[in-house]
Symmetry: C2
Subunit: 467 residues, 2 copies
Amino acid sequence: MSETPDSVVRTYIENHRAAFLDDLVEWLRIPSVSAQPEHTADVRRSADWLAAKLKATGFPTAEVWETPGAPAVFAEWPSEDPDAPTVLVYGHHDVQPAAREDGWDTEPFEPVIRGNRLQARGAADDKGQVFFHTLGVRAHLAATGRTAPAVHLKMLIEGEEESGSPHFKALVEGHTERLATDAVVVSDTGMWAEDTPTVCTGMRGLAECEIELYGPDQDIHSGSFGGAVPNPATAAARLVAALHDEHARVAIPGFYDGIIELTDRERELFAELPFDEERWLRTAKSTATYGEAGHTTLERVWARPTAEVNGIGGGYQGPGSKTIIPSSAMVKLSFRLVAGQDPDHIEKAVRAWTAEQIPLGIRHEITFSGSTRPCLTPLDHPALQSVVRAMGRAFQQPVRYTREGGSGPAADLQEVLDAPVLFLGISVPSDGWHAPNEKVELDLLLKGVETSAYLWGELAESPRQAH
Amino acid sequence: MSETPDSVVRTYIENHRAAFLDDLVEWLRIPSVSAQPEHTADVRRSADWLAAKLKATGFPTAEVWETPGAPAVFAEWPSEDPDAPTVLVYGHHDVQPAAREDGWDTEPFEPVIRGNRLQARGAADDKGQVFFHTLGVRAHLAATGRTAPAVHLKMLIEGEEESGSPHFKALVEGHTERLATDAVVVSDTGMWAEDTPTVCTGMRGLAECEIELYGPDQDIHSGSFGGAVPNPATAAARLVAALHDEHARVAIPGFYDGIIELTDRERELFAELPFDEERWLRTAKSTATYGEAGHTTLERVWARPTAEVNGIGGGYQGPGSKTIIPSSAMVKLSFRLVAGQDPDHIEKAVRAWTAEQIPLGIRHEITFSGSTRPCLTPLDHPALQSVVRAMGRAFQQPVRYTREGGSGPAADLQEVLDAPVLFLGISVPSDGWHAPNEKVELDLLLKGVETSAYLWGELAESPRQAH
């Protein structure tokens, strides 16, 4: 089934584990916080560090790519077999802000290893998961006797993911030839649980808009005029209230057009996951589930589109009261999209629906910001099955399937490079992404190394698929 | 019909007009802005000035009454007829903030007379309208040969009306014996138009609440959790959307309980007023009317209760977007009430209705702040007819009827002193209350003096009415 003797891989990893961790700790010490201007130089230092490390790993090419914001790192290691498939690994080297006083019990940029845990900002999101590929590819070479990977291996590690990847799509569009690939491997996600290895098969897309509603030219007196003119805050509220029908389905005509519905097999696979609603609710910091009728919670967050209000505001919000009819109100809406939905179609549908909802006497303006397409790789896609096999060999357990409810730049890679997106992540929900005391489980991190070591051979052997 | 020869009154006013205006200008120079701490001493100076002026006018008693905030002025001038009715005049000596840079074309506290206009902060709201009673009572005495008014005349001029009268009700409750009266005359309103003298017959009441809605314990990620837990901003929006039915009637069960409906005669009288919708909309700074089905705009603002959202907020309201399900949301609601509605009943109804609207998984808290009762004097009330007659003699025109959509401390006087409230105001909509270039029309101000001069005789002659 595979050209790589697994025991050789494991021994290689064991022998190089200490140096690997030393290197990762060195990288984690660089506070590459893209959102904070005082760390601009650190983000650049992080990019330079990574490019040098990838060169030392053996990548013949490792470059820092400039953007109008923070730099990305691109590396390339061609296979000796010119017919080998090309694979592009995506991750990011910037991290979320972190400060001791946010609730960390250690300094966030002074990594600490305690038992099975490496605690530091970026340990899981995303430096640890980017970095496992460096030891992975060395183990792959060691076990196969190759001097270059079984695939044409490329890596694109961006520096602005935690700032919303504002320049990422343009960066990809500007380098389509060098980034050309048969598949994208995203290592910036997680798996279900420590004891449940999973492969993610897709992410939801995202469309976002802000709607301003204008009523009276200025705030007017609710005594003198109340009850006789339209109130823009009421109009905003009615708009939000009308977003869903009584089955919690989005009521915007055309919203569900083209959706690739879950197959029975996918619903079964979701249902087989050990889902504990009480535990999920604790993660959601909520006390009840609520959503589209006829779907489970996992289906709702992974495979069904949403309309959520992220912000609403209008009139007086300070202490006490102010008897006004406000002059304006605002809602910020976001729509999570699933495979088959087109952000441009959604924008048209939302605009048309909104215009119909707004009453006489209220003027409105809608602004859509950049959207993200959904991405989904079919369960039977050969490249996806390669990831499943590699992970199964590393974990020596059955691998199950998840999806991701969030949205990410992976969709830009899928769209611009016209390649399927695969997700290889070993992070677990307790890793505390964006939170204090972020950590990675060391044994899972090394399973990531091992999966990476198997993956290039698996992908090289898998049948190509037209996409 | 009257004991006062009108020509004597007019001559008296003409002879004393210059001194009257000099005094008013002196008072208007005192920047008695109750809302601004730097004017605390000015508000006190204003009270002292007024008390001294009322003494000079002839009131045997004129006192400054302390409150925990700004002082009020109380004055009393008993009739020589012990059986005469008692009348309490209400007004206020504090003013709205004003600064030249707000758009005034003169200094707001340096009064200017140009043609028929006296421009200064407080000229109409409310010093001019308080002050016309001083010359009015002198003219009344001069024309009737009396040495004391035909009624037991009291005045209560508060110093915090522009700050929401926070201590007014307690002040009245603390002096119920000295304030005891058969009727209250409020001179802090206006009339329909320069050429349309009107008497106001009631004001709407007010109940106000703030509702906080709590969802997740903190903002959560709309990708990871969107579509599967209740969103408190959505719940807030639905609450506001559910406030009204499709006829724009308030949908809260019990809301309309006990309302004293408009009589056909009142609706006719409203309809007779020269109402120009385009002009009204300009005043409302709005482009369309909207309100309860089956009622005209004037009925809606004067005689129908309302539910308005004065503020709504939740989630992210800054620039750009933030893909969260917010942890909480808030709405501020106010309800204008009409005669027959009880604020305590409304509070109960709103609390019960809100509890029913809130979905599982959302916790809520409602806080009601101080309420104001509605007040209404029936058209055929003898004291009201006295005001109409006095005004008709002064204006030599038919007097029509209005109501006031706003709410005011007059309702506290009605409630605590158990006396009907009458409104005698000569201000017109163009006077610019709370706005730059506030002014009063001098000829209307002198009609106020004249109406006041006739009113005490009219009231003394009117039949007493049990209330």
